[in-house]
Symmetry: C2
Subunit: 117 residues, 2 copies
């Protein structure tokens, strides 16, 4: 997976990972890795700053706790966050359909465009 492909879509993924309930950063990273069969495995240097950004934007709220001697910051979706997630999903659908159309998924076997020019 090319690295820069994610640009502009990361926020939605993080929000989606928090939709099922509160999670801390590391768990978000793992959830994302699991739901995508390892196709999206974010480096920690990506996920933590992104979560900070989302928190600053008011889309998630975080709270500190200590579990097993390790400090954790657990994040939760806000109302704005849920709304944003909804918007991200809609935006993704539109974007994906546009790119698919433009890319012209002509990988279909039956559809033979004029091979005999």
């Amino acid at each position: 997976m090319r690295a820069e492909a994610l640009k502009g879509h990361l926020d939605g993924l993080l929000l989606a990972a928090l939709e099922d309930g509160p999670r801390h950063g590391y768990a978000v990273k793992e959830a994302l890795r699991d739901t995508t069969q390892g196709r999206i495995d974010l480096p920690t240097g990506t996920v933590y700053p992104a979560l900070h950004r989302l928190e600053r934007a008011g889309l998630i709220t975080g709270s500190w706790s200590v579990v097993g001697g390790r400090r954790r910051r657990t994040y939760e979706l806000t109302g704005d966050g849920r709304a944003a997630l909804s918007g991200e999903r809609a935006g993704w659908q539109e974007f994906a359909s546009a790119v698919t159309a433009a890319l012209g998924t002509r990988t279909a076997p039956a559809r033979s465009w004029p091979a005999t020019s």
Copy 2:
């Protein structure tokens, strides 16, 4: 359509627009706009530098001509360009499936996360 959503996927779209035959920059922009029902309408300041980049990368070749008193640079896919397009398509499919999975239009919220870890 959010602007930054395109990042990392533009090259594939441009290559795809050239797959049906040689086109000049302005025509590429129009072709992309048409095949996506106006959802992807690139500013010229995006398409021209991108085409230059693709040419520098050897994925397309350009040639000057004059039509109706206006100079045009017409681009054509190279062999490398066709290969790259194929790769872009495969990459897009993987990326799209991953994002769709992660974004997960979850209609089954039966998953109650363990309050007691």
